[in-house]
Amino acid sequence: MARFTNTIVIIGTLTLLSYVLQPVENYSWKTIKQNQSEFNVSSIHEHLGQGLIFGLLGEFRNITADFLWIQMYTYWENKKKDQTSSWVRLVTIISPRTRHFWLEGARIVGYDIPYWKINSLGGSFKVPERVQDTYLKKQALIAIKLLHQALEHHPNDYSITMQIAQFYYDKLKDKEKAAEYFLLASKSHHSTGLASRIYAKLLVEFHREQEAHDFLNIYLESLLKDDPYNDKYIIIKKIRDLKIEIDKKK
């Protein structure tokens, strides 16, 4: 009876204490949880089994992600597509702040995996082009989805936006969408001239030369005059070429 009473007192006290300390806990937990996306159930819902295991590890979570990434490469080496994509997903869930995991993971999913599938069916000479195209597009869409999730953790990131644009351009052949993302990339922090130049090139392909000309002019103005590494001479040449083309059309 004494043992039963002790147990009830202990559990009751702890529950009461937890209730009393709730505002104190919430005060700091709110900030910590906001900054740690992996602390939210919704983000680990798909991998709850694994997520729970890594949740236990506390500070070792990032190290675990690093080693799982190495482990993922053993599947990648053996071209095991299901395990590779599943581990890419898992690593990005455990450590969403490492941009490298998102980018490299998306490239593996979008560029490598469809070719493994095509090769397993007999190679690109045997598999009909229509079937190859289906695989390439399907995987590119999965990679884009992954990169959109990456943007939630790395908003306005140049490399991620550029990669999305490249998937639309190379794999999905959707130039309108690609242009949309090249434009976004050109406005991102740490953007290079490449995104702007490709965007202008696409505008020319859409027969919007005047718009491309104006866009490059604005871009040229934004370039730092004293930076010897910027691409202002290439841009100036492009603007001149465009001007000639616009004048010809007139």
Partner: protein, 282 residues
Amino acid sequence: MKNAFYPCWLIAQNTFLEAVRQKFFYVLLFLSIALLGTSYYFRHFNFGSSELKFIIDFCFGMMVIFGALLAIIITAQLFFSELENRTAITLLAKPVARWQFLIGKFLGVWFLMLAFSLILSLMITFVLWNREQAFMEIPEVIESLAGKPLIHYSDIYLYLFLQWIKLGILSSLTLLIASFSKSNLFTIVVACFAFIICQIQYLAKDYYTEFDFFFIRWIIGLIGWSFPNFQIFNIGDQLVLESPHRLLIHAKEYCSIILYGVAYIIAYSLLSVFSFRKRELS
């Protein structure tokens, strides 16, 4: 009141010395330092994150895992060695109350945790300082920092303090389990499970309402509401390194974490005293 706490202080001193002499402490300390050294070599792999981030994560991870193991095992071992060697009976026959014995034991182990965490933190500081010197010779790194420091060394000690509080909760929780448990092994196993529960307590609290079956919902809810949230102390990966993700925790938030931890330490210690008050020692 001074007299009442004096025996606690004497027992704490004794416990600390006894714990420091334990081989287990040296083994864990040596392992931690050795692993800390190896983190220096792991940087040659491409893990996707920056080298310094990897070293910080690795070192803090060790502090958490080995610290937790030390807190659980040393607390249980020292408590049961007193009971098994019957020194507790001799001690409690003198004018030493049971609460003084328990509080003294807890304080001794808690100081040991401070020593352990402090040694590791000093080592981490040295390793990071050493790498920082190499990085600060690269002009691109200096330029990207724009006058900000690459490593916020004060964050290491801020984190150390939080870990010390967390290990204090774990140690007092182990003492609570030991106060009613009959064996050392049982205490260690249950305390390890309790540690795991504390690490995922936040999931139980967030998730328990989503279970349809009443009994499961009730059990998970009880777990969520009767264990402390250890993730609140695990902010190491958001500290130390200068980055856009660095957590700027305000003094009020920091104090609330400390208050939360200390409240649990006091509660667990009082409950251990309550549970131990009528325990048969012979």
